[in-house]
């Protein structure tokens, strides 16, 4: 039942590992996702390019004044990250859904929450992490001070997986819908608000020399909470879309 489709040829491995523990299953699922990602570089490049272009619009639209740019930088960074994570999610689910890969995995007896977790992790590795890596550059362009840049990287490192996880729920809910893209933003952006608030305020606090540990702690709490709950919600949503 496998090897006909290039995105489903890892199924036999998953089938073998069914009797083993769930951890190796998760690892092989992530490997499968990453193999699919590696075949086309668009997953890395598009969100990254989107992020850089969106942020570079702000100096043009608002002001090139370095002081004011540093002031709006935390908000701009975080909003641009929210949007590019949202954009990147589609590639991870839609093709797999349309080709039947998702259904095959479920039929093979892979737990839905494992799939969602694996896809969220792969999405973060392929799309979230590159954003974190270019953040120092963008921060520098926005005249953000070194401390602010450092905390921007740390807060994004904690916050972007939360975005991938929550976004996955929305993505699973809108699988196979005609204008799923717009709907996805409608559903998910309000749920991103806590991450946005704590993420950008951590950067603001750091760049104005205040204590930022509270914000980071709450971001970490949000990460733990979403790691625990989002895969199950996503799995429930995915099963609705598939049957």
């Amino acid at each position: 039942m496998s090897d006909s489709n290039n995105s489903t040829n890892v199924h036999s491995n998953i089938d073998d590992s069914k009797n083993e523990n769930g951890k190796s299953q998760l690892v092989s699922l992530i490997k499968r996702e990453m193999a699919v990602v590696m075949r086309s570089q668009s997953e890395f490049v598009y969100p990254l390019a989107f992020f850089v272009i969106v942020t570079s619009l702000f100096p043009l639209a608002v002001t090139p004044d370095p002081v004011q740019l540093a002031f709006i930088a935390p908000g701009v960074l975080w909003v641009a990250v929210l949007l590019s994570v949202l954009m990147s999610l589609n590639n991870f689910y839609q093709a797999d859904f349309e080709e039947g890969g998702l259904e095959q995995l479920l039929v093979c007896g892979v737990a839905g929450h494992q799939i969602v977790l694996a896809k969220s992790i792969a999405n973060w590795l392929a799309s979230g992490l590159p954003l974190v890596i270019v953040t120092p550059l963008i921060g520098y362009l926005f005249n953000l001070d070194p401390q602010g840049i450092k905390i921007a990287v740390v807060s994004l490192l904690i916050g972007t997986p939360v975005l991938s996880l929550i976004g996955s729920i929305g993505m699973c809910l809108t699988l196979g819908l005609r204008n799923g893209g717009v709907l996805l933003t409608l559903l998910v952006l309000p749920l991103f608000i806590p991450v946005l608030i704590f993420g950008s305020s951590a950067v603001q606090a750091a760049s104005s020399g205040l204590d930022y540990s509270g914000q980071l702690a709450i971001l970490l709490a949000l990460l733990i909470l979403s790691l625990l709950l989002a895969p199950f919600a996503g799995s429930a949503a995915m099963k609705i879309s598939i049957d």
Partner: protein
């Protein structure tokens, strides 16, 4: 007890049950609203600071309360429908959404009208108003998702999941907005500056909260009834009902 539970799950039975209840709810909404209006407009004092504008509170607070209450009802009945696959629960959940959205909008509009004389502006990024705005977005998302599916069962189940995710998120969103607000504004003007409200004002407010609550259930039942008719239009009893009304 269990027989009653099974009956509740049958749209036909629910329709007839609410048919009997509705006149009572309509009547008590009317009476309570009139009592509330009398208490609020005639028998309660004006605020020593805000003057007569404080009377907007009698609409604003119940609307804000019900906007959240409706979400909880929507999410819980959605969850019941999701877990036990009871179609009646989904009907309740779906019928709640527009009512809740309207209450949210009402709370936003009355908040803005109240804000003009008190804060000097229609819109202030106040924690409560911002939370209400986000709640409004959540309602819109729910309704948009429900509309997007062609298949009704999928629509019901997907929007139930979304409502539950929202229910988990609402306290977090509320807390984060509150926290964000205290960070950005030194001293917010609290709507309840006085530690204890005047007894007459409290009385009027409580009557209004109960009146809005009863009104909510009245409108909810009305919506549920039309939703039942819409969904069960192919069944015999609905056909009989419509024919009976026509003749």
């Amino acid at each position: 007890m269990w027989i009653w539970f099974y009956q509740m799950a049958s749209p036909k039975w629910f329709y007839q049950f609410t048919d009997k209840l509705l006149p009572w709810f309509r009547g008590s909404t009317l009476v309570l609203m009139l009592i509330g209006l009398a208490l609020g407009l005639l028998f309660s004092p004006a605020d020593y600071q805000q003057g007569n504008t404080v009377r907007i509170m009698y609409i604003h607070v119940p609307a804000a309360f019900l906007s959240m209450f409706a979400y909880v009802v929507m999410a819980i009945s959605g969850a019941i429908g999701f877990v036990w696959r009871i179609k009646m629960a989904h009907i309740v959940s779906v019928s709640c959404a527009p009512i809740g959205a309207i209450f949210t909008l009402l709370a936003l509009i009355t908040g803005a009208i109240w804000g003009k004389p008190t804060w000097g502006t229609y819109w202030e990024w106040d924690a409560r108003l911002t939370s209400e705005l986000i709640l409004f977005f959540l309602y819109i998302g729910f309704m948009a998702l429900h509309n997007a599916f062609d298949d009704r069962t999928s629509a019901d189940r997907a929007s139930a999941v979304l409502a539950l995710v929202g229910l988990v998120n609402i306290p977090i969103i509320h807390f984060s907005v509150e926290w964000w607000n205290t960070l950005h504004q030194g001293a917010t003007i609290s709507k309840f500056e006085k530690p204890s409200m005047d007894a007459d004002m409290l009385k009027a407010l409580l009557v209004f909260i109960v009146a809005f609550q009863v009104y909510f259930f009245t409108v909810l039942m009305q919506r549920i009834k039309s939703e039942i008719i819409k969904r069960e239009k192919m069944t015999g009893w609905v056909k009989k009902l419509v024919e009976g009304k026509a003749s």
